[in-house]
Every structure is written in C-alpha cells, then in structure tokens.
Symmetry: D2
Subunit: 302 residues, 4 copies
C-alpha cells in the first residue's frame, strides 16, 4: 500500500470539512487556535512515518494524554484497575452523578474522574505524572523538544474548579491519595502538552505493536495493550464511542484540542488533527479523515 498516496487522497476528501465545527472555547488559549488547520500522520511498525497537511504543527493534546498516563500506569502493574473501571459511562464526560452512585470508583480511565485517579496512581509510582508522560512522548517520538504549552497550563489552571471538585470528591471516598490541588496541577500539565501528528503517531505506535517500545523493550504487556485498545474503542471518544466505532471502526482517543489518536492493531497508528469539534467534542475533520482512511485501506476491525 502506498501510504503517501492514501494520505493524499484522504486529505482531498476531507478538504471540504476543514473549518467545520467549533473550536473549544472554554479557555482562551484554545479558543484562539486557527480552525482552518488539518494534519494526518501514520506510523508503521518499522518506525517509518508519513503525513500530509499540518502534520508537523504542534497542537494541544488535551484528553489524548489520558491514554499515556494509563499506559504508563499499566507498564508498572495491573493495580490501577482496582481504582478505576473499564466500562462506558453513558453520560457526560465529567459528570459527578455516576461517581456518586458508584461510590467513588470512576467508570473508566477516560472520564475526567478516572483520569484524575490514573494520574494520582501514576504519581504514586513516578512522582510527577506530567513529567513522566512528557518524557515518554519525547523518547518514543524521538523529538526531545516536545513541551508543555504554558499558556494552556495557565488558562486551564484558572478554570479548574470542577476538576478540583472531582479531586476532593474522589479523596472523600479514599480514591485519591495525593493532594487534590497537586494532582489537578499534574493533570492540567499533561493535558497541556503540545505535540504534532507525526510525534503523536510515533508515540502511540506501541499500541499497534503489542506494547513494544521504540527501543525494543516492552511497555505494557501484550495483554494489557489489548485491554487499552478495547477501552479506547468503548470509551475513547466521550459520548460518541458507538458512532466512532461504526464510522471509523478502530480504537481511538480524542481530545478537545482537535486531535485523535487511532490504532489499527498490528498495522499502524494514526494521528489526525483539526481544531473544529462536533457537538460531542470530537474533531469533525479528524473523524472524517479516519473514516476515509479505513474505507480506503479496509483496515476497520469490523
């Protein structure tokens, strides 16, 4: 398969959707992003990468970082699963309601409450979860200049009341061990990492390769990698997992920065970026691009 040609065709098909949707506007640092950008990158198991459009432009990872905190937590051991569930939430992604009914055990690692617990768990192992994610992304992508976007960090920090509420609420159930303000700070920082499609595809490649890292060492085990992919498929795109599973047919994790990382098990990882979001918080152009990609390649899992 000529991947350069596939990506060029995908970009052609998606062209009409670029600029559609609404850029996330709950913080100024995201609201000011130019909506007319689009990039897609593919990384293959041999470590090669391909891309078109703005595939080298860094964007804000946002919730996609939750995938990496989870992977790093699981690279140590399975114990995080005693603190967070693995089932779809079926409600708004930051709802407190379900958390209350389920006594402080978040339904999955990708809703905000679950991501805070995973961050807290990882922090217990490595000290600073955000630094650990940053280091992992640099190592796997081979790009040592990936950085936190300080403007996003500060913007988020001034809009963090709801996450602070979640953190204190989790602490009231004994399911947050660190200081709530410190854990929210780490959470904000790892979500504020700026990364390009190219680097993101390379950093997520281990999920298409049974957990094997760039240097040949093992990250999460093959079985844990399978589980991460399963959780991505059922929970990775907010309240649109069913729709995404149908249109794209791949495990994927999206962020309100407009990025999506999708995994084609055994074949490749794919990173797309387009800042305009649909009403459920997923990139309009990104979903369209992944739809076109799996249609062209026949690489849907269904």
């Amino acid at each position: 398969m000529d991947m350069n040609r596939v990506l060029a065709e995908v970009a052609d098909e998606v062209a009409g959707h670029i600029g559609e949707g609404r850029v996330a506007n709950y913080i100024p640092a995201l609201a000011s992003v130019d909506p007319r950008q689009f990039g897609i990158a593919v990384a293959l198991p041999d470590g090669t990468s391909y891309g078109v459009g703005d595939w080298l432009t860094p964007f804000s990872m946002q919730s996609i970082s939750k995938l990496f905190t989870l992977s790093l937590a699981l690279a140590s051991d399975n114990s995080v699963w005693s603190r967070v569930g693995r089932e779809p939430s079926g409600s708004a992604f930051n709802s407190l309601v379900q958390l209350e009914y389920e006594n402080g055990l978040p339904r999955n690692p990708f809703i905000n409450a679950g991501a805070l617990v995973v961050t807290d768990h990882l922090a217990g192992h490595v000290g600073d979860a955000a630094d650990a994610v940053l280091q992992f992304l640099r190592t796997e992508s081979g790009n040592a200049v990936i950085e936190f976007d300080q403007a996003v960090v500060e913007s988020e920090a001034s809009h963090s009341q709801r996450n602070l509420a979640l953190a204190h609420f989790l602490a009231s159930y004994g399911n947050l061990h660190g200081d709530p303000h410190n854990i929210v700070d780490q959470y904000i920082r790892h979500c504020a990492i700026a990364i390009s499609c190219r680097d993101l595809a390379l950093a997520g490649l281990f999920l298409a390769c049974h957990g094997a890292l760039r240097d040949g060492s093992q990250g999460p085990s093959a079985r844990q990698t399978k589980r991460i992919n399963a959780v991505m498929l059922t929970c990775g795109t907010y309240d649109a997992a069913g729709e995404f599973a149908y249109r794209v047919g791949l495990p994927g994790k999206s962020g309100v920065g407009g990025g999506i990382l999708a995994i084609c098990p055994g074949r490749c990882s794919i990173a797309v970026w387009g800042p305009g979001l649909d009403e459920r918080g997923n990139s309009v152009a990104g979903v369209a691009a992944l739809d076109a990609f799996t249609t062209k390649t026949g690489w849907s899992v269904f």
Copy 2:
C-alpha cells in the same frame, strides 16, 4: 400554662428514650459524647427561659448553625434567594446529584451545598460568617462565653473533602465567590459552636417573635421570619421533614450533635438536646420531647 410543669412532664415521658439511637461517629470529637444526656429549654417572648435536665450543658450545634447564617444573611437583604432555592430536596442531604441537574443552584439553605452558599454570601457582607454567628448567639442569649469547640473544628477539618468538593463545584458554576477552602473553614467553624439548650432557645426566640431581637431592634423582617419558619418546616430535618411535621407540627432545625431548635410562632422557641440520632440524623429523644411538648400544649401548627 405552668411551663416548669410542662417541661417536667415532657422529661418524664422522654426518660425511656434517653440513650436510644446512635451518636454521630463520623468524627471522633462527636463520637465521644456521652449518649445518656438530655436537656430541653423553652424561651418565651418576654425573654424568660425554662428548662430541665442538661439544659445548661453546651453541645455541638452542627447544622442548627445554618439557621443563623440564613437569618443573618436575610437581615441585610433578600439577595441570598437569588443564589439558593427554598424547596425540599427529597434526597440525601449532601448529594451532588441534584446540584448538577440544577446547574449549581442548591435547592434550599439547609442542604450542605446551600449552607455553603449562604456562608459565602454572609461572608461577603460581614467578612467572617462564623464570627458573625458567634457574636449573634452571644448577644441574643446574653451569654458572652459561648465559643467554638476547637476539637470539633479540627476533627471536621480533617474530614472535609466532600465539603471542599461541594465548594469547588459551586465555584465552577460561579455560585461561590470566596476561596473554597476559606468558606469551608468558616462553615466548619460555625457548625462547631458549642451552645446550651438555654442559650439556643434564647438565641432563636426572634423567630417566634416576627424577627424582633433581644434589644428590640429588628433582625430579619416579619415577612422574612415567616419565610425562614416555612423553610424550616419543609427542609429543616434532613429527609424527615414530612415525618417531623406530622409528629411535632412545628418548624424545626436539627443537627447531628443531637440538638433541635423548634419554633412555635408567636408563643415560644424550644431547644432540645439528646446525642442519640435516628437513622435520618435527628435526635431520638429530641423528637420525642417535641412530640410530647406539642401534645401537652396543643401548640402544633396543624
């Protein structure tokens, strides 16, 4: 009516219930209270007070203080009603669920979320809501040595994650203006005031007297006082307001310290105390005493 005799008879009838129920045990400072205490005091509009049993022993006010923050907030103006509702909550007294469905507007001033908003509102007027409540209680009771119970303050402060969650959550809706930690601190302190039945009955007497204070000045207006009494009747005893309305037939506000302040409009205020709580958090002996009191006097509002 010979009030001394009425109270003696009430004490006789209640004797069998003293020690029943469970003392609040979520914090050590409350769990260590001797359950076999009981007191009742009545204050009449002329300022005289009557009592039997342990009516001069200070106990922890807990939620009863919410009645005084509300009264003080309303003594300034009506604006607190734009930040908190006046309807029964119909669910556990510290649930986050309803708050989420109703976009950060607590249903009434007596659920924890509502009490935090009222504390915040009062703090906006007077600086420190706990100090204001303490001063009010001293003035109205004529007892200048009423104090915060520091052991309770410290005990509560180490179990405040859920209230901190509520405070941050309210802040995320823009319905908490002060620093969440500072407001929770004030809230904990006014709940930790230790007061006797005698002093509590005197301090609440204005609610039976159309808002008139001890020195003849007006606290909340007559119309506001009527409203406070109405809110007490419909929301003052956690999830047992209907049961309390039936058995006692008076507006009342209870606390998990085992105290209850009840108002007989135009006639008297009544403070009872017995540390043993029923499953809904109201004093077993206290409710029984108020039931006996209204049966004997015929002073139920129904």
Copy 3:
C-alpha cells in the same frame, strides 16, 4: 371576623391576577376552560359557607381528589403508609426516577405514583375508589348532583400512557394489586370530578375539624388528620411546597384544573379556583387569593 367582607377584599386584591398564567393544555377538555373565572369559598366549623365570584361554578378537581382518596384510605386504617411514604419528592411530580431508586415505594401520596398506590389501596377496601370519592364529596357538601365530567374522563383516558407506565412499574414491584388499567381508570375518574368552590370547601372541612364529618361521625382520626395536613403542607403543591408554605402559610392541595383546597386548622377550610396556572402548575389567582386571605386574617400557621 366578617367573612363576607374578608372575601370581598380578597377578591378585590386578586382582580388584577385573574386571567394570568396558562390554562392546563395537555388535554383538550381542560384547555378549553375560560381563563377569566375566579371563585373563593370558606367553610366554617359550624357548617356555614361563604363565597364570592364564581364560587358556585363546578371545575375539574384533578389532583385535589388525591387528598380525598388518602383521607378515605386512612379512615379505614393506617395500612396505606406501608405502601407510600410521607416525604417531599424534590422532583417533577410524575418522575419515574425516584420510584426506581426507592424500589417502587412512592415518596408521598400526592405524586402520581403515590396517588395510584392510594387509589389501588382504597379500591381494595371499597371496590371503586372513584365512586367512593364521589359519594363522600356529595355527602359532605350536601350536594347530590356532583358528577364526573365525562369529557375530561375521555380526554384523560386518551392521554394515559405515562400513568399506565407508572401503574405497570408499581406492579412490577408488587406495589399495585389491582389490574393496572382498571386502577388508572379509577384514578382518571376521581380526578375528573367537577366540583364548585363551595362544595369543595364543605367537603374538606373535616380536615380543619380534627376529622369530624358533617354528620358528627369521625372520618380519619384526629391524629391522622394532623398527618394529612402535614403532608399537604410539605407535598401538596407539586415542586412549590416551600414557596406555598411561605406565601400562604397553610396546608394546601392544588390541581391543574386551577383549584386549591387550603386548611386553616381549627378555623376553616378554603377553596379557591382560577384556571390560569404558574409554571409549577398552581393557580396564579388562587395562590394570590390565599396569600391575601392569610395576610388579612393573620391565620397563617407561621
């Protein structure tokens, strides 16, 4: 007190509110009622009645009938309280949610689920609950021509899917013993009784008289009557019980036909009617009239 003069003054004050609000429009038979009608009647313990405006015009009782099924059920014995609670619901009056969380036990007799259970319970004693209510109203008012409004019965019957859902749902918990369709039919019929303010005030007078009926016999006991009044105050006006308690300060039960029956314990019963409803389903002119009445008479319980 010159009751004719009081009522005339009340009518004067309310005149500006007549026609305000929206007539219930979920069924055609109610939507066609002329909104510019208003009546008020008072019945005293001696059996005399007073009224002004359209106080002799029959209107649709709707939920006010729930008060009479409850009273008739309690006139037999207390057993209905094992099937329905006595606490405010704090949510929309026909919500299924709470019912599910509380395993089929409705929170109080005035939400639709609770009223269906009470109807079922009464039917178990008397055969047809609607006929029993009709007979009671005729006897107590002395008006033998009170009747079901067949147009309302038919209109409701064609909009009964939600009540049928509730009835089957209650049956799934074993808390509905009769055939769901038959019980909903009885429920619809007793809600569809047409009655005037005069007759309604007379029929409800026993609630102001410790349960004593027109012929001197005892209906519900004095203690049960006190409980009914307490439930009316905390649950009688949908999601506005706190507001009603404040403005009117009396136990009251409203219906979407625009009627309200209020009880002034020991003094009188009051029936008002104005078809225009506020957003919570209570008569705008009716609440205003009761507010004016208690202000003039000083007969609020607070």
Copy 4:
C-alpha cells in the same frame, strides 16, 4: 486451521467452568435448565459448521433475538435509527432513568427499551416481529423446526409488568406506535425462541459476511452490517461491554438463557451456550470459551 481441533481444545479448557455461575431464575421456565450443559459452534463463510458438546441442543435465545430484530429492521431501511440511539448505556440494562432524561429515545437497540422500539418498528413493516425473526432463523439455519418455547412465553408473560411499563412509557413519548401489550407480546415471543448453537451460528453468519444471506441475497447492507457489529461490541453484553471487548475482542450479543453469538468479521460466526451466568448476566462458560477461541486463533479485533 483445523476448526474441529480448535473447538475440541476450547472445550477442554472450558471444562472446569461448566456449571459455574447462576442460571437465570426470574422465571421458572429458565430456572429449571440443567446448568451442566455446554456447547459451541462455528460457521464459516462457505456455510460449513463445526461444533462440540451440546451444540445441537436448543436453548432460549432471550436477548440474542434483539440482534435479529435489529438486522431485519435495517434490512428495510435506516429509519429505525431515528427512534433509537447507538451509544452504550452505562447503567442497568432495563433502567427507566436514562429513558426519562433522554425524552423517550433509548440509548441503544439492546437495552430493553431500545429492543421494544425496534420490535415496534419491525412490526410496522412486517406485522408480527416474532414471526419474522422465527422465519429468518429457520431460513438462514436451514432448520425448519425452530420454534417458540411456549413454556418460556407463558412464564415471561406472567412477569411482564416492567416491560409493559417501559412500553407505555415509550408510548407516552410517541416512540411506540403499536399497542403496548401487543408489542410486549411480540417481544416476549421472539426472546422465547429455542435454538441450538449450530443454528444460531448459521443464522448469524451474514454479520461476518458483510450482510450476505444464505441464498446470496443481501440482508442489511455492508455498511449497516458494520454498524451492527460496532453496536454489538459497544453495547452487546449488558454492563460488561468493556470487559468483553478486552477478554474476547469480538462483537458479541449475549442472552440470559446463557447463549452468546460472536462475530469475527470476514472469518466466522461463533455461538456458545452455557446456562450459568456471571453477575452481569453473561454466560461464564460462554465468555471463557470465546476468550480461549480468540486466544487460540488470534482472531481478536484488537
């Protein structure tokens, strides 16, 4: 791949789990099933089938039939998607709560409310949805004697209050067009079809073959088939979709009769049966067998 050998090995591995779990006991007709039975069958795109154990013994389809009503509804057109969602529910499979919050639009076709809507929709096209499913199963399996289990039909019919509540509730939102009792009757009947693993695997083979039916005609389109598989993966196993996706890694639909139909897109369909259920309602031995199957074959989609 020697499918007979694979299945024999799977059966060996699962042997220890046979009899584990609890047989569904909410109706007598299911409670009396011998828990120590187990069967597995695989159907390949060429129409051949393989099996071991009790693979020719009919069992009660229960919720697996929902997959066939959905497929038949989609074979006509896409319009059913305007009446039912495609997202995981994240709560108990027959909850009314979510339905209320989402105004009568069930979250997906596999929760009871959604299945009733799909049954109603299919009935609108074909008259009797249960007969249509039965006919489809007979045709695709080539077994003309597949039948309704009348004992199960009667047993379910006497425990149908909750489904009747759901049906009336849906009707109150205008999302059930047929008579609620008739639709529930059809629903009960198609769930009560008795079918063997062999016949079930053959009947579901079209889902592994892009919608192609036994006679070469097209059932649902290739795109609709992809969607059905996606919905199976995210919603097909009650509140264990995430867990099932991880352990098995295939789209699957389970029933409380102990059966599961799983699809390996492009490769095969697999039917397993073991009456003992785990606490979420899925067959213990069945899930274990599918886990072993995908481990041996490497046919997980992740």
